[in-house]
């Protein structure tokens, strides 16, 4: 015995389709009005009605639309929080409650905390404390002591004090100039090499057709600008 369904018998067809209207039968006035309503409603996502519900369910079954990320987020928003989420949410709340702008006070801040504080830093960055800034300047100028204590930088040096130590400074300056000479000589040998003037030939692997000179000039200009930038950075010692 075969599993393939056999064609419906005449009686079965009548049972299944007995009251079905012949597709090619001329429409009644009522049908014409209903079909116009359906046509308009199909283009209107907010329209409702039993026929539309059925059509939409057919469409959803046949080619379901993806869920928009925002709609998904709203659904997720209503889900109960997991224990991990509750813990992370509490940590984030504490970090924000403290008014902390940087996660450096905790050993290993979560990326979410870092991001929240990065947003705050970008939106309303806090000022650097004057004492702390002095300490950073002093450290850069070589004022840090071995024990970690920092000699605070004073912006306006007192001229009287300088006058008193002029003699000592002169001697030190002579010694320092010798050190600077040695340091400069050492630096010169380790400086980043500069881009040299060169032919433009290596910039073009393929032959250019006539009328494309603009693209050719653009490429030369880009390469030269890049060299110029690199040379500037190298000269400034920031490459």
């Amino acid at each position: 015995m075969s599993d393939r369904p056999s064609a419906p018998t005449e009686r079965e067809h009548e049972r299944l389709h007995g009251d079905e209207i012949d597709p090619d039968a001329p429409p009644s006035a009522e049908e014409l009005a209903a079909s116009a309503r359906l046509r308009d409603a199909l283009d209107d996502p907010s329209a409702t009605g039993p026929d539309l519900d059925l059509l939409r369910s057919l469409r959803a079954a046949w080619s379901p639309e993806p869920l928009e990320e925002r709609a998904h987020a709203e659904i997720l928003d209503d889900l109960p929080a997991s224990s991990d989420e509750l813990r992370f949410a509490a940590e984030l709340r504490e970090a924000l409650d403290d008014g902390a702008r940087a996660p450096d006070r905790t050993a290993a801040p979560r990326p979410e905390q870092e991001l929240a504080l990065a947003l705050r830093s970008a939106w309303s960055p806090s000022a650097l404390g004057d004492d702390e800034h002095r300490a950073i300047v002093a450290k850069a100028l070589g004022g840090a002591r071995a024990g970690g204590a920092v000699v605070a930088f004073q912006p306006r040096a007192r001229t009287t004090r300088f006058a008193l130590v002029t003699g000592a400074t002169t001697v030190l300056a002579l010694a320092a100039s010798f050190v600077v000479w040695i340091t400069t000589a050492a630096q010169q040998s380790s400086e980043a090499p500069l881009a040299r003037a060169r032919s433009t030939q290596p910039l073009f692997d393929e032959p250019f057709k006539s009328g494309e000179t603009s693209a050719r000039i653009d490429r030369i200009a880009i390469a030269r600008a890049s060299d110029y930038r690199d040379n500037r950075f190298a000269k400034w010692g920031v490459r």
Binding site: A73, A81, L86, A102, D104, E112, A118, S121, S126, A157
Partner: protein
């Protein structure tokens, strides 16, 4: 105020601002000359004058944490100390050079640490390219533009997530309003708001991560 007086007042303001800038530039030039002759106090004075604005407008918004910004400021100063003799005074003053050095240091730091922050490497690379010609001579103007650029970056990031999430972040993180107040405004309990905010940040993190992946693909 009659129109003539208003115009004269504006012209006077401009003149005064130009005079202030000229005086400031002249003072900076003297300090640079001294610093290049080895006067550390003069160099310290230059750094002290310009560094605070540099930290607040350039480094902190771009690096996203105080610790990272302070580290970058230290490194910027170290580079300035090592290279002040290479600086050539031009009519644009000292600050554009200092800002360029700082952007370079910040870019290196972003490349090395790979933390998830608002600014990407390519953002800083672009700013660095533009810094040569586009840094305003007046530090206040430059700082203002840098701050505006950082805020625009925040807005751009928030536009990528659900509006409810971005509202939660805006009210609590950016406006720094109290948690209970924000929860009430969003129509949830404070404890529900904690979770909402956590999810908002997680959603933003994901959006920024996707942005990074997309730009990496573009590079390929």
């Amino acid at each position: 105020m009659p129109e003539g007086q208003a115009t004269r007042a504006t012209t006077d303001d401009l003149d005064a601002a130009q005079k202030r800038r000229a005086e400031s530039d002249a003072a900076d030039r003297v300090l640079v000359t001294k610093a290049q002759a080895g006067d550390r106090a003069a160099l310290g004075e230059l750094l002290h004058k310009h560094g605070a604005g540099l930290y607040r407008s350039v480094l902190l918004p771009r690096l996203g944490s105080e610790a990272a910004a302070k580290e970058a400021l230290s490194e910027t100063y170290a580079k300035v100390v090592a290279n002040i003799d290479k600086f050539v005074w031009q009519n644009v003053g000292f600050y554009p050079w200092l800002r360029t050095v700082a952007l370079r240091v910040a870019l290196d730091q972003l490349r090395a640490k790979k933390r998830l922050v608002l600014f990407e490497e390519e953002d800083l690379a672009r700013e660095l390219d533009a810094a040569q010609t586009a840094t305003p001579v007046e530090q206040q103007v430059s700082d203002h533009r840098d701050r505006e650029a950082a805020r625009a970056k925040v807005e751009e990031a928030l536009a990528r997530i659900n509006p409810r999430y971005s509202r939660a972040i805006r009210l609590r993180v950016l406006d720094e309003r109290p948690r209970d107040e924000v929860a009430a405004e969003l129509g949830v309990t404070p404890s529900t708001f904690d979770v909402l905010l956590h999810r908002a940040i997680a959603s933003l993190k994901k959006a920024l991560g996707e942005r990074g992946e997309a730009s990496e693909k573009d590079d390929e």
